[in-house]
């Protein structure tokens, strides 16, 4: 309980710092939301009137104070570009990015756990070596490039899916999910490779431990030792990696969403930055920051579950 309170405290302080920094970064970079919206035909008079309407004529600290006050009461403001509340805007975008993230994460687990164990068990054999070379190659290819490659090969040449034909959830849920598969593969593959490599070395180092020899000497089968003892210990360092991966996927989806024209949070973030639509930008940044902190929190709890020695209450 105490731990949760402490974590919640960290969450709030981090969000405060992040929002403060983003807000000030926004006031420093050149460009003006009012002028951006009014374009080249505007008179000075119009620009000033709109600045006043948006509250941009006030000092930055006052603007920040106002924003913070509203944010605490659950009001994230109204988007300049879309004339709708930021919360409504995000409500439609979050499920898309979350679906993409979960799908990618699921793929990572699905591929990297079996492969990691398999390569560790066959350490040094030719199949392991071949897989490790392949692994190295996949690991070094950036996600966006894989995205382009997948679009080209599977979309344009083999025609397995139609690039750019994004299907929204409301139209068809299965269509939506299947459109997300190619991009999540693009996101997942490099991280799968990293996951395999980590799990493999983690398992191998555990296999060399004394307790493994003891367990085998007591007559346990290789399988029993692997799934009963080794895996549990080997997962600990990998767990941290997976926790970081989720945050990483969210960050990566910003690029991948552009490549596959998925109208998720990433695309919204990018256009909102160039439109100087700071209520939206801050909303998204807050969300991502909170997500990262919450995931770290979950990882901490899982640690305790797997290894009681580092249970967090103590």
């Amino acid at each position: 309980m105490k731990y949760i309170v402490k974590k919640a405290g960290t969450l709030i302080i981090t969000l405060l710092i992040v929002s403060f920094l983003s807000f000030f970064a926004f006031s420093i970079i050149p460009g003006d939301a009012a002028r951006s919206r009014l374009g080249t035909e505007a008179t000075q008079e119009q620009v000033e009137a709109l600045q006043k309407e948006m509250g941009l004529d006030k000092p930055v600290l006052v603007q920040y104070g106002n924003w913070l006050k509203n944010f605490i009461t659950g009001d994230m403001g109204e988007s300049y570009s879309y004339s709708m509340p930021v919360s409504d805007l995000l409500k439609d975008k979050i499920p898309i990015t979350v679906a993409l993230t979960l799908l990618s994460f699921f793929l990572i687990l699905l591929i990297s756990i079996p492969l990691g164990i398999f390569t560790a068990q066959h350490e040094g054999k030719w199949l392991d070596r071949a897989l490790m070379v392949l692994n190295q190659v996949v690991m070094s290819v950036p996600g966006f490039f894989l995205g382009i490659l997948i679009t080209f090969v599977f979309g344009l040449v083999l025609k397995w899916f139609t690039p750019g034909a994004y299907v929204s959830i409301s139209e068809s849920f299965s269509g939506f999910l299947s459109y997300l598969i190619p991009p999540s593969v693009a996101i997942a593959l490099p991280r799968c490779a990293m996951g395999v490599k980590m799990l493999r070395s983690s398992v191998i180092s555990q296999m060399e431990k004394d307790y493994v020899r003891t367990a085998l000497a007591r007559g346990n089968s290789g399988h029993q030792v692997m799934y009963g003892h080794v895996l549990k210990n080997a997962l600990l360092p990998v767990l941290t990696f997976w926790g970081m991966t989720i945050a990483d996927i969210v960050a990566n989806s910003i690029i991948i969403e552009q490549v596959f024209t998925i109208p998720g949070m990433g695309s919204l973030l990018i256009t909102s930055i160039s439109n100087r639509d700071y209520p939206v930008v801050l909303g998204i940044i807050m969300l991502i920051a909170a997500l990262v902190i919450v995931i770290n929190f979950i990882v901490d709890i899982l640690y305790g579950k797997i290894d009681p020695r580092i249970r967090v209450e103590q």
Binding site: M84, G164, Q258, S274
Partner: protein
Amino acid sequence: MKKFRNLCILLLAVSLTAVLGGCQDGKDGTTESQDNSSSQETEAEPTMGGSIVVGIPQDLEDSLDPHKSVAAGTKEVLFNIYEGLVKPDEEGNYIDAVAESHSISEDGKVYTFKLRPGVKFHDGTEVTVDDVKYSIERCAGINGDGTPLVAAFSNVEKVETPDASTVEIFLKEADTEFLAYLIVAVVPQHCDDLDKTPVGTGPFKYVSRSPQENIVIEKFDEYWDTENQAYLDQVTFKVVGDSNAIVTGLKSGSIDMYPRINSTQAAQLADDQDLEIYEGGMNLIQALYLNNGEKPFDDEKVRQALCYAVNRQEVLDMMADGKGTIIGSSMFPAFEKYYMPELVDKYPQDIQKAKELLAEAGYPDGFDMTITVPNNYQQHIDTAQVLVEQLKQVGINAEIQLIEWDSWLSDVYGERNFQSTVVGIDAAYLSGRALLERFTSDSDKNFINYSNPEYDSLYEQVKKSTDESEQIDLYKQMETLLADDAANVYIQDMAAEVVLRKGYGGYVFYPLYVQDMAKIYKTAE
């Protein structure tokens, strides 16, 4: 981020060239067949019904309210939903829309409109004179906080409705060209959330929008002009920000039409049998705009030297395979009545002369300069790169500085804090004024700080004149002055290439930046 994207484009281009290695000679073949097919166009029989997906490069991010929207990309979509008292046609004339007829008083101060009976808004209510009055007053800021929503309407003094079918607009100062502004949308008085749900009188009505995704409009069955009803039942404007995704979308069939592809995209699509490329003018004045208020460009000789140093045909060849139209002043060819082709060759490339002029101005060894270019316009970046090379020949050492569009708007356009910049300027209205007013000395839009009393007085005369041919003559004198003074290094009206899937037809180029979807049809199979 930007780097990443450019890198992906580069990588894709490389992989495409590698894979499609052998299609170079096929390309010439398609150009020929394109010419053939455009002559065969008349064969295709238009049919009613169907739908189309149109790609647009950016979402409608300013406002769906027609009086508040400013981005060309927003206006070209809203054009299908809204109409004004008058509306432009493809030849650049005004035809009556919500109004049935119009007349302008001798002194150019009173505009009288007879309302067309039976024009309906998309919500089924009939347009009344009160709606028209409300719309004009809204633009002029009368009854509001006094700030006009549309700058040009600050000249409106009052609007009167003597009877149920007549609207009179009184201007503060005589203006015989005010009709050009009256393409501004007529909106219903009873709707107060136009920025969320547009309601107009146009051939299409608004259905829905999903930010970053699409805007859907559908045919309005009760459109007043029964002879020019829309063919298509539904049009989806799909937001495709990534230039790569546009190409894949067109190839894969998820987009049926895309206005204004660039030359790289055109090259990637040229061999696609399902697509047809139409070519027209973009109606933009692309120029190396020079800050006339700052050294060294406050000197006319330096500006002229720059004009002589530049080879514009080479620019066109390098950036767009020679497509585009070279221009010599702030007017593009689609504005036929104002356009002066004789200005095009005013400054042929002449390195020797450029050097002499520079020496006379006190820069025998040239100088360093910065060209500021918004980083979201590849065509302007390409142009700037060619210019840098050409300027080297006269000893001018130019450096390109890329900035975000938003910074461009505030620093270059707003603060006028720049040396030179390459951008394209479009016309918001079908009048010479739309392009030429901005260079009068005290105009808010005169970001290049051009100042010539003669130019200013010519513009005063235009405003007073009530005779169109006299106005045209005055505008032409203004264009000539801009060219004589070498206010900017005028380059070109860029070629616009529109991609349309085979099976659709009816694309029409306008002298304004609009997409008329009502004219697009599906051809009979």
